[in-house]
Amino acid sequence: MITKLSRIIHFGLQNFWRNGLLSTGTVAITLLALMVSLGLLLFGVVTDAAIASVQDKIDISVYFKTSTSEDQVLSIKQVLEALPEVKNVDYVSRDQAMEIFKTEHQGDESISQAINILGSNPLEAYLNIRAHRPDQYALIDENLKNPSIGQYVSSRSYSENQLVIDRLSRIISNVNLGGFALTIILALVAGLIVYNTIRLAIYSGRDEIGIMRAVGASNFLVRGPFMVDGILTGTLAAVLSLIIAAPVLSFLSSKLGGFVPGLNIFQYFYTHIFGLLGLQLLFGVGVCTISSFLAARRYLKN
């Protein structure tokens, strides 16, 4: 068995090397397909970062009557934090609200005078609530209507921003769905292109398959070298795809950073290089090996 395996590997490497032009063509097509798959992966990362950045800007605020004590607000905060839909809750006290208000209207004399005339702090304490997903705000808002909380609440921002939040939620969900569909379709197309390229390569060697069979080679020995070729093609294409992607991403990184704040796609690529290589190898070697297996099968009769 070891002799057979070593011969299969030897034949596969020999074919790959001696059919240099054909092998180069197959690697080039596989490389293109893998660049598409890598592009899709990184497009997903950019989309996720863009969506996260938009989601980060969404929150709802609940304002409490001035008669509500800080302890009562903090206990409500605890209740809200326990909800599975809630990502985090920030408490802003009446004094902090005043500070923020003053900072925001620093240059406005009339507002400063109005505050001084009032003598006391008219601002309400509030909680800023962030959900994991935009579609969860409606559920959180329902909880805020509960009388145990509602009796202290003076106003909620959800009802004012409901339209915008719902629209954003729909857009995000559509982008996710569209991205997923696009990934599946393009990955299928890339896989089919690789399959057809390998099929053509094996078709050109169909006479050789017939000769090997006539000499008494078993299916395993005939098919094996083609699968070794497939593994080699997929591996080379996977490694090359990352080597080509690195400088391209380094160039694009600064431009994308301006588009999506906080995103450094090259940094992501660099820190996930082994994971990405694994995925590329899985896709490249997987598609090439399966294609070789299937394409060789039809010439293994008689």
Partner: protein
Amino acid sequence: MIAFQNVFKIYNSHSVALEDIAFQVSPGEFISLVGRSGAGKSTVIRLLIGEEKPTKGRIFFGQYEVNKLTDRELPAFRRHVGVVFQDFRLLPMKSAYENVAFALEVAGRPQREISDLVPQVLDMVGLGDKGKNFPHELSGGEKQRVAIARAMVHRPEVIIADEPTGNLDPFHTMEIINLLLKINQLGTTLVLATHNKDIVNGLNKRVITLDHGRIIRDEEKGKYILV
């Protein structure tokens, strides 16, 4: 050793390739299958090496009933046979040495045995110095000698040659026939399909004549005679 028992090969009602073929070949024999193009010689060869299945009848080769062999069993069976084709059928991306070695490699023979045997056989067919050449670097006669070396290297019980001289000039034709005779003298059974009258008449061996898919003559020390 080889037996065809009432073998028919019918592709459709308008195309009957073989009709009621029955003959036997004993070990060590040299037989020529002769007939015009389309007489059925190549069909007999294809049935014998299991490339096709008969519509009716049975084909025996040693312990094998060839017509019953499955795709999985065929490779092992073919390692008992050496086949030489008109179009040489050499692997174009392998050198002469590698083409001959391939027949041993598929049989799982150890590397040391291959390294010993292949040069000997290449020497025997007069190509000791051409081992590193690829098929496109060899003449027609040399390609056919590589094919014969490949067919005989694993010491098969039978060598089947289907029009082995069809693509060769008279000089190389005689060279190949002499080589086949030499192999036969060493004890290997030989089945030669040809439509070359001069070769058959010069051999003075058993001749089976086919015409329109039927055996019309089977003679010891026969001649190429077509009515």
